[in-house]
């Protein structure tokens, strides 16, 4: 599942793995935090038409959704393995679900929240021909998911062992 996992299946810690994953996630988290703060400072946007007809609002929501996707991908593809690696967990042969369950048990994340964010993220890959009210509600759910994911990443990062 992870392009980092090459022929090296040793369970020895890989120097820099966690630092690299965290550096990447931090970058996405910082931009996401700025974009969410700008969005929160705006008056409430009443419907989808108000967003789709306004270039700046479209760009702002796109920025949030893009960084939401990138932060989630970085966490899923890099930080999960890097964290378990740093904790000396024998995770290399575990399927993703077992890795997530282990991290939940250690207090790093809530698996159900993670699955909801996965659904939101996958939904962003396509536009669906649904009613505008539904598309607006879906967008609002994704923005709320972005806020939730950012908080979850901050919690996770605060728990990480020093590099």
């Amino acid at each position: 599942m992870n392009s980092e996992v090459s022929s090296d299946v040793s369970s020895d810690r890989r120097p820099g793995r966690l630092e690299q994953a965290r550096w990447e996630a931090d970058r996405h988290a910082a931009v996401l935090a700025d974009a969410l703060a700008s969005w929160a400072a705006l008056p409430t946007v009443p419907d989808l038409a108000a967003i789709e007809s306004d270039k700046a609002l479209r760009a702002q929501t796109d920025q949030i959704l893009f960084r939401f996707t990138k932060l989630q991908d970085t966490m899923g593809e890099r930080l999960v393995a890097a964290t378990l690696d740093a904790l000396a967990e024998p995770f290399e042969a575990w399927p993703m679900r077992d890795r997530l369950d282990r991290l939940e048990k250690l207090g790093y994340l809530d698996v159900n929240d993670w699955l909801v964010w996965r659904v939101l993220r996958n939904r962003l890959a396509h536009e669906y021909p649904e009613a505008p009210e539904l598309r607006y509600a879906q967008l609002m759910a994704a923005l709320a998911g972005a806020t939730g994911l950012l908080a979850a990443y901050r919690h996770w990062a605060a728990m990480l062992p020093a590099g």
């Binding site: 679900r97 698996v111 159900n112 659904v119 939101l120 021909p129 649904e130 009210e133 539904l134 509600a137």
Partner: protein, 106 residues
Amino acid sequence: MRLTPQQQATLVDAVRRHFGATARLWVFGSRADDRTRGGDFDVMVRCDEADAVRLIDARLALLAELHATFDFEDERIDLLLFSPSLHRPPSPIQQAAMAQGVELPF
């Protein structure tokens, strides 16, 4: 239709719980076609709920729950919603899903 009996049962049970007993459920697209292989799960749910936020919340909870099951763990599921009070008339893809899809009875 290319869903295992267990997948059908899991899907029906989850849709009924999240969208209510009066909802209806269709599988359409490649999974409704016995001649193809693999592919995403295209699902359509029709229900009378008029509140878009509740519909979206129900879909999110349903999909997260399905992805937590063995039956759908790593599968891609596209779930379209149709509510008569929000869609007048149904879009072409919704019409096609209801007309050509395979309905899974509750």
